[in-house]
């Protein structure tokens, strides 16, 4: 019996448990002496009470069992006579065992190593043995816990309160999953990065200016893991060029939408801008690589700029800026709209014109919110991958010439992790170190931005 079947069986039994719990509670209610129900809770809650008792402990047992049983299975397989022929080396042994396991589970058809084939049978036996034990134990638990809960049903059982508590726990678990996952990702980044730093010095990595990752050190001991050109490329594209495009355009569009656009136009334009924010970035990537980049190169060549490349920082940055416009605009829109209208009226009543009011009162008042929005936009831009992979190029140049090719952190992560890879070479591990840097920087940017925006919201209650 596979785990999936078992799970369905348990849930099915849970339904029965629900039914019996309800039935008993209804019976109690019918036999109640007073006209008011003598039951503390409605029969439904008793049904759920029994059903949860039947399902939850068994499900938890199954989860634990699925962690514990593989080790037991391997032990059992190794105890079989067939294991006598296995090589002594731990590495070769592990390879053979994992192959045998894959075949036994049906994930793989043929063995590359004949030794593996001999281990398949013992494995199969062990698997079915332990699966049976698990299934029987789980079903016994369903019955035992279900009957226990069923016996608990008495008029004064506070089933409703208990269900309430379980509901709360389930919601809490759901909200923890995202947080736990984030922490897990962070920890795995930290561990891999630590391994990387055991091979390459953090100083060389963070402050080195030569990016040319090699598996082995060069003649002078250099390893080519200096990430400064990557950081510079990321900042140049995401925080400088993209923002030069996105901040003015986003701000102006927000001003137009909040201050000048007739209600009807606004009702059209706002949703359209928001839809733009949902366009997959790979589409922008095409646009950058196939349309903008060649056009910019031709332009650069025509005005005689040397070093113009078909993969330019400018193309990636401009398109990224365009991608970010809806984001900046919607943040700015929110913060301008949050400025109390009394402020605007006050300025107009002084005889200021509409644009003077915007320039001298609304924007300064909305500035913290706008700055927060821009910081969030920067953090999105530097983490953006598709556009730069397609349009920014791979050359780790440290240049301020926007027509030349630069590379970014995200592009290099993709570069390091695609293709053939040994999992513990510094080349691969460098990707984790880069990822960690990116993670920390965007996290900090987000924290600062959220704090700024919150402060600003508080200023206007």
């Amino acid at each position: 019996m596979t785990s999936a079947t078992l799970l369905f069986l348990i849930i099915g039994l849970g339904l029965f448990a629900w039914f019996f719990g309800r039935l008993k509670a209804s019976g109690l209610k019918a036999s109640g002496k007073s006209s008011r129900s003598a039951l503390h809770s409605l029969p439904n809650y008793h049904g759920w009470y029994v059903a949860l008792w039947a399902i939850v402990p068994a499900a938890i047992f199954m989860a634990v069992w699925s962690f514990v049983s593989p080790a037991l299975i391997t032990d059992a397989a190794l105890a079989s006579p067939a294991s006598a022929g296995l090589p002594q080396g731990a590495f070769a042994r592990a390879a053979i065992l994992s192959e045998a396991r894959a075949i036994a589970y049906g994930n793989q058809v043929n063995a590359f190593n004949p030794l593996s084939q001999s281990m398949v049978e013992p494995y199969r036996d062990a698997i079915s043995y332990y699966q049976m034990i698990g299934a029987v134990a789980a079903l016994l638990m369903v019955f035992a816990c279900g009957v226990y809960a069923w016996l608990q049903i008495k008029p004064d059982l506070r089933a409703r309160t208990k269900i309430e508590r379980v509901t709360m726990l389930i919601l809490l678990l759901a909200s923890l999953i995202a947080i736990v996952t984030t922490v897990g990702i962070f920890l795995s980044l930290v561990f891999e990065t630590a391994r990387f730093f055991s091979m390459v010095s953090p100083i060389d990595f963070l402050f080195g200016t030569e990016w040319n990752p090699r598996a082995v050190a060069g003649p002078r001991g250099e390893t080519g893991f200096g990430a400064i050109p990557l950081f510079w490329g990321t900042v140049f594209i995401g925080a400088i060029i993209a923002m030069i495009v996105a901040i003015p355009l986003g701000l102006m569009s927000a001003i137009y939408l909040t201050q000048y656009a007739p209600a009807k136009l606004r009702a059209w334009m706002k949703p359209i801008l928001e839809v733009l924010a949902g366009v997959p970035t790979v589409v922008y990537g095409y646009f950058a690589a196939l349309t903008v980049a060649p056009a910019l190169r031709d332009f650069a060549v025509s005005i005689g700029i040397s070093g113009a490349s078909s993969e330019s920082a400018l193309a990636a940055g401009v398109v990224m800026g365009i991608m970010i416009i809806p984001f900046v605009s919607s943040m700015a829109d929110d913060s301008i709209a949050a400025v109390p209208s009394a402020m605007r009226d006050g300025s107009l009543a002084m005889g200021a014109t509409h644009s003077e009011t915007i320039k001298k009162v609304l924007i300064p008042a909305a500035l913290p919110g706008v700055v927060g929005g821009v910081l969030l936009a920067v953090s999105r831009a530097i983490g953006e991958t598709m556009i730069v992979v397609m349009a920014a190029g791979l050359a780790a140049n440290m240049t301020v010439n926007p027509f030349s090719s630069v590379t970014t952190v995200t592009t290099q992560i993709v570069q390091l992790l695609t293709g053939d890879q040994e999992f513990d070479s510094p080349k691969t591990l460098a990707a984790f170190a880069l990822g960690l840097v990116l993670f920390i920087v965007t996290l900090l940017l987000n924290l600062i931005a959220l704090r700024v925006v919150k402060k600003y919201r508080e200023a206007y209650e």
């Binding site: 009394a342 605007r344 006050g346 002084m350």
Partner: protein, 280 residues
């Protein structure tokens, strides 16, 4: 005074034009602003119905009346702040020294510099105290140099009775002041552009009694230098600060006259009921 007698005749029908005429000819002050047959609509809904009134230079005029009767609406017509509400529509004539403020020749920017406004809730800009006051003079180019601007700021704050309290902290944010100080800051800000008329919409309703007393004192001092119109829900306040009182009801001007007359001897039943607190 003919019209007064006419009004006291048994006929109960109220003729707004005649009432307005009463206002126009009462005492010798020069009418600074005159309104004739003003209607205001919000979309299809009429909020002001045929209101005619004069505002004099040498007196403080109070607008009183139950909530929703259109006091704010009418006040906002007097410096065209209703322009900011897209669905608002104003008909009739409102004149500032004989000039129609709704004519196409009228520059709204100039108009609002001449007819300033103070709002119900203090609304200082999130700038320094100095910049709050300097805001108007700067946009209207009233000062040629830093020194002149400093003078305007100081004299405005002085006239608003705030100078002593803030002179050492002019670079602090205006929003850091107390509610009453903020409202006096807003009055100082309005004074700084040297307006002819100051409109105040319930300027004390967000303030405690002490701050209120300060503002009332300030209104007393400003009287005569500016034509002042104040909307208030507080009868005692109207009686204390104003020389003339207009009673609005359901978008119409029911009665307009000397404050003492309105409070001691109103001509209209409705006015009496409102003032004695029997309704509204």
């Amino acid at each position: 005074m003919n019209d007064d007698q006419k009004m006291q005749e048994p006929s109960e029908s109220v003729n707004m034009t005649d009432l307005a005429t009463t206002g126009m000819t009462s005492d010798g002050g020069t009418p600074k602003m005159t309104a004739r047959h003003v209607d205001v609509f919000y979309g299809d809904k009429q909020a002001i119905n045929d209101v005619s009134i004069d505002v004099n230079m040498d007196s403080v005029t109070a607008f009183i009346g139950p909530s929703g009767c259109g006091k704010s609406t009418f006040l906002r017509c007097m410096n065209r702040m209703n322009d900011t509400i897209p669905i608002a529509r104003v008909t009739g004539d409102i004149m500032l020294e004989g000039e129609d403020i709704y004519s196409s020749q009228m520059d709204v920017v100039q108009l609002r510099a001449r007819v300033g406004m103070v709002f119900q809730k203090p609304n200082p800009f999130p700038k320094s105290i100095y910049d709050n006051i300097a805001y108007g003079p700067r946009i209207h180019g009233l000062a040629t140099g830093k020194e002149e601007l400093d003078n305007i700021v100081e004299s405005s704050l002085q006239r608003a009775g705030l100078w002593g309290e803030v002179k050492d902290r002019l670079s602090d944010s205006g929003t850091a002041l107390s509610g009453g100080q903020q409202q006096r800051l807003c009055i100082a800000r309005a004074i700084a552009v040297d307006p002819e008329v100051i409109l105040m919409d319930e300027p004390c309703s967000a303030l405690d009694p002490i701050a209120t007393a300060k503002i009332e004192e300030l209104i007393h001092e400003l009287r005569g230098k500016y034509a002042i119109v104040i909307v208030t829900h507080n009868m005692q306040q109207a009686a204390r600060v104003s020389q003339k009182t207009a009673f609005f009801h359901l978008g119409t001007l029911v009665e307009y006259g000397e404050t003492t007359d309105i409070f001691t001897n109103p001509r209209e039943e409705k006015t009496r009921d409102y003032i004695t607190g029997r309704y509204g």
